[in-house]
């Protein structure tokens, strides 16, 4: 089962629908999240950065919801408002982009702020991880896109050497980057970015260069790639979802522009977010009119219209069946262990202290049966072998016992025989004596 999870930029909560049936699930309360600010952390819980309540406040919180409860479970207060969030598939880290251009990296299990670095001169607008989760790609309001090897970020020695810790810096976008997605492939994947300069650009991660630039009629705010990476979908401010070519031929029959194959349209307001389902067919779009639309990309038809709120939808994600939601109710303790502590505001001042460097692990609860193999049969076989060869002291001991018992038994037999013999003798002697007596008498 896949869930559509959507949030809005105005406090209308987080809506949840079954992708297949369209049935609305639990609605999580109190969330007003910026674009790219809603994630599911390895399906354990939902996390969302929040917009500032009023422009004067210096910070905005990050909220966590567990799947079972509508209320906010954990509130964190980072040092500055966080826009985009991203998390790795293990749910070990949450990475957030700040409005000052800094990127924050927290450890989920402990809530520790492991690292914070200045990534851009203007605020970070979108973050994504490469396919193998070793590279972080960040886009900024100033149009620059940078690629960060996560290992390098923690490499203090390399940092001290004064090198730039980013691997690439793409500055082809003239205006604010609105969305970035990364494709499949270990080191040869592509990255697609959209920008307010009305273009989407396709980058090669391995070569670090621009492969293709596609101009659209209006600003693109959201992109989603078809799982086969043949085409990608670009949600436009004119309310259309354009289909652009990656690995397909482009026939310039329709008049959309270079590399644009087709468009999906429902006369909606601007498209703000897109998500592609794992089934490879369904595309989900969120729009400024507060509606969520599910499209069948094979037919190009809209298959479902879900009403989220009156306010614009800012995030749509598709989450596979959240882990263990349907299983027997978890113990309270276990439930807590699935939830994370709040995220720290600052890096631990005891940076070099041992405590702060301990890594906290949450293991998947599993029945540990690997040291539980039955052993009696094995022990028995090996003992039989010992006995057959009289190979060990134990075997010899047992043989001794056996012989002892046999000896005892034999002794008993001997005794018996002896007794029998004696009895017999006495009988005979008696009889004989009696006979003599009789004869003699």
């Amino acid at each position: 089962m896949e869930l559509i999870v959507a949030s809005s930029s105005v406090d209308t909560g987080i809506g949840c629908w079954d992708l297949v049936s369209g049935a609305e699930q639990l609605r999580y309360r109190s969330s007003a999240s910026p674009p790219h600010g809603l994630i599911s952390v390895s399906r354990r819980f939902l996390a969302s950065s929040q917009l500032r309540e009023n422009p004067s406040s210096s910070s905005a919180p990050i909220f966590f919801w567990s799947w079972e409860k509508p209320q906010v479970q954990v509130r964190s207060f980072p040092a500055e408002p966080i826009g985009p969030l991203v998390s790795d598939s293990d749910g070990s880290y949450i990475i957030g982009g700040g409005s000052s251009g800094a990127i924050y990296l927290w450890e989920v299990a402990s809530g520790k702020l492991l690292n914070k670095w200045t990534a851009h001169y203007r605020s970070v607008t979108c973050l994504t991880l490469s396919d193998d989760e070793s590279l972080l790609i960040s886009g900024s309001e100033d149009g620059s896109i940078r690629v960060w090897p996560l290992l390098m970020i923690f490499d203090d020695i390399a940092k001290e050497s004064g090198e730039n810790i980013y691997r690439y810096n793409f500055s082809e976008h003239a205006l604010r980057v609105t969305s970035i997605i990364s494709g499949q492939g270990l080191c040869n994947s592509i990255v697609i970015s959209s920008s307010e300069d009305r273009t989407c650009k396709v980058w090669s991660l391995s070569e670090g260069r621009l492969l293709r630039s596609i101009s659209f009629p209006s600003i693109i705010d959201a992109i989603a790639m078809d799982p086969g990476e043949h085409i990608f979908y670009a949600g436009c401010r004119d309310g259309k979802i354009y289909v652009a070519a990656l690995n397909v031929e482009w026939n310039p029959v329709r008049n959309y522009g270079k590399f644009i194959i087709d468009s999906l349209s429902d006369n909606s307001k601007a498209i703000t977010c897109l998500a592609f389902s794992l089934d490879g067919v369904s595309l989900v779009s969120g729009s400024e009119d507060g509606m969520i639309r599910v499209w069948n990309t094979k037919t190009g038809q809209m298959t479902r219209l879900l009403k989220h709120a009156k306010a614009p939808v800012s995030n749509v994600i598709i989450v596979r069946q959240p882990s263990k939601i349907n299983q027997v109710s978890l113990s309270r303790k276990h439930e807590q262990s699935l939830m994370a502590p709040p995220l720290d505001k600052y890096t631990d001042s005891r940076e070099d202290g041992v405590e702060s460097k301990a890594v906290k692990m949450i293991h998947q609860i599993s029945d540990d049966f690997d040291n539980s193999s039955y052993c009696a049969a094995l022990v028995m076989s090996s003992q039989i072998k010992e006995l057959q060869q009289n190979a060990s002291s134990g075997a010899v001991q047992m043989e001794l016992e056996r012989l002892r018992a046999e000896c005892k038994r034999s002794m008993q037999t001997v005794q018996q025989w002896k007794k029998l013999y004696n009895d017999l003798q006495t009988t005979f002697v008696n009889e004989l004596l009696n006979g003599v007596n009789v004869d003699g008498s």
Binding site: S130, P149, C187, R209, L211, A358, S373, Y374, A376
Partner: protein, 887 residues
């Protein structure tokens, strides 16, 4: 009659009706009883009989058959009754048999029976276990059977309370056994029983926690047992935190173990490491200002107090340290039912401490340290290092993605060690760690490890390559030449490429290596080197790999070809020589890395594709071997390279409407220039052609080269077209090249000469086209000249009308070519050319295509600048290429 027969005979060996009588006959004929003597061999048969047929399982395929159910139940009743009577037999052998079979019964019997009778069985077992007359062998059997009983009991969650009660009764005697000197076999099963209790009924141990810790520690410190038993002791220590079931006890145990390890090391390493090392590590384990925990196993170690002075430290060092480390390994890798925090830094510091000791004297000499001590320690060090590397593996696997903050440290530690590691077993392990790191941490890790892997792999793999031998020369002439060239290039490139400084000379100096044949790496090391290389190519084959890919690809093909040419025949002979890895494994590993090298996307098409395919084709014919299986898989995987299903992403003009021709064209186009090769080739082609321009043009062009960075909008627009025309030629050339050759091996020869002349990556196949053609197709030589002229014409847009010019030129070309077999290709070309909505600019910016002087264009601006809007944003200068940051 028939019905009667069906009732009589069972339907086969799986028929359940077979089982009750079978079990009855076992009880009747095989089991010892009061009269029948005990025969061990028969018991083996009974055991296997029961387990193969599942005689005790009472699992029916058909519930309805009441008769069968009844019969089976009574048969098992009989079996249990007999076993219990045996277990109370006074004869030790029969009693032993009863106890063992009771253990097997509690594993095999059906759940209902177990629940109803486990208490009785338990009492029978504990009775025997505690009886003063019990012999050693009976105690062993009792422990094993009790362990099985508790294991089974753990399958019934609602019996947990009962189980804990029963477990409490066992703890005391088990601890007592472990404290006595009763011999290893009994210890082994006793600790196994203890582990079972700890993991399934932890609350039963609660009050004995300290005793258990002490007894396990003393056993580990005594180091009297063999490896398997010691591992069980370390397992016991590792699951001890489960007893209390909280994070603190886990941290405490791991902290205590680390302290124990380090204090042993401090004793052993006196004089062989820096003095302050020990206190440094200790400070990490116990942060200053905190109280150190009590030592592992309580205040006094009973085993150590009575340690005879005859046992030397070095004798105890390795077993103690490795066993304790093994405990840590288990703690790191096994799941615990509560979140744990792992003190990564002290763990890594301990690993680093061990790995840094190489047996040489360090700093000031202690008077105590004799050369004798050093000698003894050096003898033990390899084993210690191996144990330590296992520890490192456990840290890496245990932390998974959370290793990230420490990744750089681990890599530095490993690479430093790698440079010093000499012993085959150690090198093998280091390679496997490298492989693991590469696969788990992805591209980011490959940026760090690439240079190290390559240096080491070159050293290990090239030591017995017969480079320069006649055999190789004849087989792989071109490759050798490639090698020669890139060896020169390599050093040039390395100066600016290497991120991690390389101290020692790497194996690329093949000439040196071939001389020193004495340092041949064993096959097993080579195999792991190949596997590490494979991981590198898989994970990071294309990211920032320009500086090493050609070298590695070359090495791989050479190694693979050598492995195969050397020895289809003497495979068996070599098998005998090497004990652990056969030559076949080596061949398999070479093929695996070859596949990775061919598949891993690179910036130019692999020049060794045809050789690789040939090897795989030959390998597939080794019927029945693993190699054949793998080769089939490889051929399937490589098929994608031959018939690519994806179009290259790099911008190029789309085909015309007639798809049938267009598709064919696309196929050949894409396969010829997989990904970016086209683009990089373009400039070189035009440069080559420049040679054909007349003098003044050449002068002009040299000026244009300088100006190309400042290409104006219009220029790029023109360039666009210009590119198209060159690309047509390129397509033709690709086809020419592929048709007669189909194999690129000979092509690579001129390639590298060319590469010498011009800058590294440029124009590899283009130049070769020019030459390849003359060698291949002599008839075409006359035609090639006019074509070159055409290309010149194409390349000079000032003479042409671009609106229709392309197709005109193309058709002109076509007429020239009518006679040969390339007609339909040139047709494609014309389609291609006439339909030219323009390339995106970014490509052109990166090309070093010679451009015309601006003033030549100026007049044509208006009519040439179609679609200029789309370029307006793109024409910003591109700074991606040669970005100084990325170097």
């Amino acid at each position: 009659m028939a019905a009667a027969a069906a009732a009589e005979f069972v339907s086969g060996m799986d028929d359940c009706r077979l089982k009750p009588p079978m079990l009855r006959s076992v009880v009747r004929d095989r089991l010892p009883n009061d009269k029948r003597p005990f025969r061990p061999a028969e018991l083996t048969a009974v055991l296997s009989h029961m387990r193969t047929h599942g005689l005790l399982s009472e699992r029916h395929s058909d519930i309805a058959e009441r008769k069968l159910v009844e019969a089976w139940r009574s048969a098992v009743d009989g079996w249990v009754e007999r076993i219990l009577s045996l277990a109370s037999n006074s004869a030790p052998d029969k009693c032993w048999a009863g106890i063992c079979l009771l253990g097997v019964t509690s594993e095999e019997c059906c759940p209902d029976r177990f629940q109803s009778s486990y208490a009785i069985w338990f009492h029978k077992l504990i009775e025997n276990f505690q009886s003063p007359s019990a012999t050693h062998i009976i105690k062993v059997a009792c422990c094993a059977s009790l362990a099985d009983l508790f294991t089974r009991l753990a399958c019934f969650p609602y019996l947990k309370k009962d189980g804990t009660l029963l477990a409490r009764k066992v703890i005391q005697p088990v601890i007592q056994i472990l404290n006595e000197d009763v011999g290893e076999t009994l210890w082994d099963v006793a600790v196994k029983l203890l582990c079972t209790l700890m993991s399934f009924f932890p609350s039963s141990i609660n009050q004995h926690y300290d005793t258990v810790e002490a007894v396990l520690t003393s056993k580990i410190m005594a180091a009297k047992c063999d490896l398997n038993t010691s591992k069980k002791f370390s397992l016991g220590l590792a699951i001890l935190p489960k007893v209390k079931g909280d994070e603190e006890s886990f941290c405490l145990v791991i902290q205590k173990i680390l302290i124990a390890i380090n204090s042993i090391l401090t004793d052993a390493f006196q004089g062989l490491e820096e003095e302050k090392k020990s206190s440094e590590v200790m400070r990490m384990i116990v942060p200053p200002g905190k109280d150190p925990p009590p030592p592992l196993g309580g205040q006094t170690l009973p085993g150590e107090a009575f340690e005879p002075a005859t046992r030397r430290l070095s004798e105890l060092l390795v077993p103690r340290v490795t066993t304790l480390m093994h405990s840590c390994c288990i703690m790191l890798t096994k799941p615990y039912p509560f979140p744990v925090s792992i003190p990564v830094r002290p763990l890594l510091a301990t690993v680093r401490r061990v790995l840094q000791v190489d047996g040489s004297f360090h700093g000031t000499l202690f008077p105590l340290i004799t050369s004798m001590h050093q000698e003894l320690l050096c003898a033990e060090l390899p084993a210690l290092h191996l144990g330590c590397l296992d520890f490192l593996i456990a840290i890496i696997t245990g932390l998974r993605s959370q290793l990230l903050p420490h990744g750089a440290n681990v890599v530095r530690l490993l690479t430093e060690y790698f440079r010093r590691a000499r012993m085959p077993a150690i090198r093998r392990k280091v390679y496997s760690i490298v492989q693991m790191l590469l696969i788990s941490m992805g591209v980011g890790m490959s940026l760090y490890l690439a240079q190290e892997v390559i240096n080491n792999a070159f050293a290990d793999l090239t030591d017995n390559l017969e480079l320069g031998s006649s055999e190789l020369l004849s087989n792989m002439q071109s490759s050798i030449l490639v090698g020669g060239t890139f060896r020169q290039n390599y050093h040039k490139k390395r100066k600016r490429a290497s991120v991690i400084p390389v101290e020692h000379s790497n194996g690329v100096d093949l000439s040196v290596k071939t001389c020193s044949k004495k340092s041949q790496a064993p096959l097993s090391v080579k195999i792991s080197a190949l596997k590490a290389l494979e991981a590198l190519l898989t994970m990071g084959g294309s990211l920032k790999s320009e500086c090493w890919r050609p070298d590695v690809d070359f090495l791989v093909i050479i190694v693979a070809t050598n492995a195969f040419d050397a020895s289809w025949a003497n495979e068996n002979k070599l098998c005998l020589l090497t004990d652990e890895s056969s030559f076949a494994d080596y061949q398999l590993a070479t093929l695996e890395v070859l596949l990775a090298s061919l598949l891993s996307p690179s910036h130019s098409r692999s020049p060794y594709l045809s050789q690789g395919l040939d090897l795989f084709r030959r390998g597939r014919q080794e019927t029945g071997s693993k190699i054949a299986t793998f080769c089939a898989h490889a051929l399937l995987a490589l098929e994608v390279l031959i018939h690519p299903r994806a179009l290259p992403l790099v911008d190029h003009p789309p085909p015309n409407n007639n798809l049938s021709v267009g598709e064919g064209f696309y196929q050949s186009f894409a396969s010829g220039n997989f990904n970016s090769s086209t683009k990089t080739n373009l400039p070189s082609f035009s440069k080559g052609d420049l040679g054909l321009l007349d003098e003044e043009d050449e002068e002009l062009s040299s000026g244009w080269f300088d100006e190309e960075e400042r290409t104006s909008l219009e220029n790029s627009n023109l360039n666009d077209k210009y590119n198209k025309t060159t690309k047509q030629l390129l397509n033709v050339s690709e086809d020419i090249m592929e048709k007669p050759l189909a194999i690129n091996s000979e092509v690579s020869h001129p390639v590298l000469e060319y590469e010498d002349k011009f800058s590294q990556n440029v124009g590899v196949e283009m130049k070769s086209f020019g030459r390849g053609e003359t060698t291949i197709d002599k008839e075409k030589t006359e035609e090639s000249t006019p074509r070159n002229e055409i290309s010149v014409h194409n390349a000079s847009p000032n003479k042409m009308d671009f609106g229709q010019g392309n197709s005109a030129v193309s058709t002109a070309e076509m007429t020239l070519w009518k006679s040969d077999s390339l007609v339909n290709i040139s047709e494609n070309m014309s389609n291609h050319g006439s339909n030219a909505p323009g390339l995106s600019i970014d490509k052109i910016k990166q090309d070093s295509t010679p451009t015309r002087t601006p003033n030549l264009y100026k007049g044509k601006d208006a009519m040439l600048s179609y679609d200029s809007d789309s370029f307006s944003l793109d024409s910003l200068p591109d700074i991606v290429d040669g970005d100084p940051d990325s170097e």
